[in-house]
């Protein structure tokens, strides 16, 4: 990983996570990153498994599923270009909270979580930027999750009485 793919640095700048950062910062980030590709249908990681890379999606969609006993896998979110995957590699304990599946051919930038944390520790200016973007992405995800939780499209009709005949 000593030789950095120049297109990778360029792509990092294009993605919202690193957009607007100086060349120096991007180069540092690119140095600990690599492109990874997953064929459609590939399980990128499974719920509970260890994973040490943070992914920035460059192309293709990824489905996140959580397993519920008796209901099976429930899809909770799909991610696409520009979005973060596997943030628990950075701020969790490295065990994944959901199963990620490539729904299409996926290309992503994988950033080594341990090295990124190390970079953040050594260079607080970079650490601040990374954590700020991460916090933004997570707060955004939290709001989206709350909206899902509100179940906005469900409708209750409490004042409509069911006919006793129909109840039979």
């Amino acid at each position: 990983m000593s030789s950095t793919d120049p297109s990778l640095a360029e792509e990092l700048c294009n993605l919202q996570f690193a957009s607007g950062w100086s060349d120096g910062v991007v180069t540092e980030l690119a140095a600990i990153s690599k492109y990874v590709e997953f064929a459609a249908g590939t399980i990128i990681f499974t719920q509970g498994a260890e994973n040490h890379d943070l992914f920035l999606l460059s192309a293709g969609r990824v489905g996140l599923d959580m397993y519920v006993p008796a209901r099976g896998a429930v899809r909770i979110l799909t991610l696409s270009r520009g979005e973060l995957l596997a943030w628990s590699a950075l701020v969790g304990d490295g065990h994944m909270t959901a199963t990620a599946t490539a729904l299409e051919p996926v290309r992503a930038i994988a950033i080594d979580g341990a090295r990124l944390l190390d970079l953040c520790d050594r260079r607080h200016d970079i650490g601040y930027r990374v954590m700020k973007r991460l916090a933004w992405a997570l707060s955004h995800r939290l709001v989206a999750t709350r909206l899902q939780l509100l179940d906005l499209y469900s409708h209750t009709t409490p004042h409509v009485l069911q006919s006793p005949v129909e109840r039979r």
Binding site: H155, T156, T157, P158, H159
Partner: protein, 372 residues
């Protein structure tokens, strides 16, 4: 009357002329509705004789209180306004808006067959003229016209009476609606000890005057009438500061006063019912046993009713705070956006007839930050 009297002139008739006026109108097919005493109050009801007028009585009003009292004279119009307003007749509390009948070809809908009564209103005060003008804008002034109101309004003959006294809860001067009757009447009377000064406001008013034993008023009579009207104006003590009131209320939708008034307000609808401009209604279906003949009945409703804002299983305005806020902000603020004027005419009915004595002028002052 003199043949060449202009409609601008003021006329005078003796007290006996009032019965004559009622008789002329009744002969012309009008149902004359005027003030009369019933249930301890001066209400508006159909009358045939001056004997039914509240002669010698006045009304003593406070927030949440109304009492009849004897006057020390025999005036017929020596009171201000009571629990009824003319909207009861122009915009009846219950009306059939349409009828549906099931036929071989399916449902057929027709307009209400109810005829529109031809009313003459006797004793309409300046604030009430203003209220009628406001309801005209609501029901006749937009793209859609309410046919029930229109038919009654077009036929109505309006005899205004100038106030010669004011009540504690009157604030028409704040709303620029009175106490002087200026427009919107066919005839306007000012009661004097020995008769009435008459102003004519329309051709049909002029036509009626011609049938009365009226003469052109003398200067002293005009001056006496002016003096009596002035007396009413001077008696008004209640004030509502309307300065920038639209923005005051619409930018204070989260003011703590709304929660405060909600502890007192009963959400009982009385203020909206006695208000001469409130126009909210609901329609209900009334069908025969077979369900083949259905009438749609429109009834007075109120924004204070919980279910008024019912939508998809929930009520938008789900507490008294939001319902009182809706009423007051609509009446005094958003009404201006909708109809180009305030919805309040300063008659004070909502203050008198609130069973817990809530006074909107006090509430507005509180929102304005003034200590009541």
């Amino acid at each position: 009357m003199t043949a060449n009297a202009s409609t601008e002139s003021e006329f005078f008739f003796a007290r006996a002329g009032l019965q004559q006026l009622i008789d002329v109108l009744r002969t012309r097919g009008y149902k004359v509705v005027g003030p009369t005493i019933d249930q301890g109050a001066i209400i508006y009801d159909e009358i045939a004789s001056v004997d039914q007028l509240p002669q010698g009585w006045t009304d003593q009003q406070e927030p949440g209180q109304y009492r009849l009292e004897r006057r020390n004279d025999e005036a017929w119009f020596g009171y201000v306004v009571g629990p009824h307003s003319w909207k009861r007749y122009l915009f009846p509390p219950l009306a059939t808006v349409s009828v549906a009948d099931k036929t071989a070809a399916g449902w057929q809908m027709t307009s209400s067959p109810d005829p529109s009564p031809k009313y003459a209103f006797l004793g309409v005060r300046a604030c009430e003229l203003a209220a009628i003008k406001i309801q005209d804008r609501v029901f006749l002034g937009g793209a859609y016209v309410d046919p029930i109101y229109r038919d009654r309004r077009e036929q109505a003959f309006v005899i205004a009476v100038n106030c010669t006294m004011a009540g504690t809860n009157c604030f028409c001067t704040s709303m620029n609606t009175g106490p002087r009757c200026r427009t919107g009447f066919d005839l306007a009377l000012t009661e004097l000890p020995d008769g009435f000064l008459i102003e004519v406001g329309s051709d049909s008013g002029s036509e009626i005057v011609r049938e009365l034993q009226a003469r052109v008023a003398e200067l002293a009579e005009s001056q006496a009438a002016e003096q009596a009207r002035l007396q009413a104006e001077l008696q008004i003590t209640k004030k509502l500061d309307t300065t920038d009131i639209r923005n005051l209320l619409l930018t204070n939708l989260e003011h703590p006063r709304w929660a405060d008034v909600a502890t007192r307000c009963l959400s009982c609808t009385n203020c909206t019912m006695v208000c001469p401009t409130c126009f909210c209604t609901s329609v209900s279906e009334v069908s025969d046993l077979q369900g083949d003949h259905v009438e749609r009945h429109r009834q007075w409703d109120s924004c204070f009713n919980l279910d008024f804002s019912y939508m998809n299983g929930g009520n938008v305005r789900n507490d008294i705070r939001s319902r009182y806020r809706q009423w007051l902000t609509h009446k005094l603020a958003s009404w201006i956006d909708q109809f180009g004027s305030s919805g309040c005419v300063g008659c004070g009915r909502c203050i008198t007839w609130c069973p817990v004595a809530i006074d909107l002028t006090v509430e507005v002052a509180a929102i304005r930050g003034e200590t009541p």
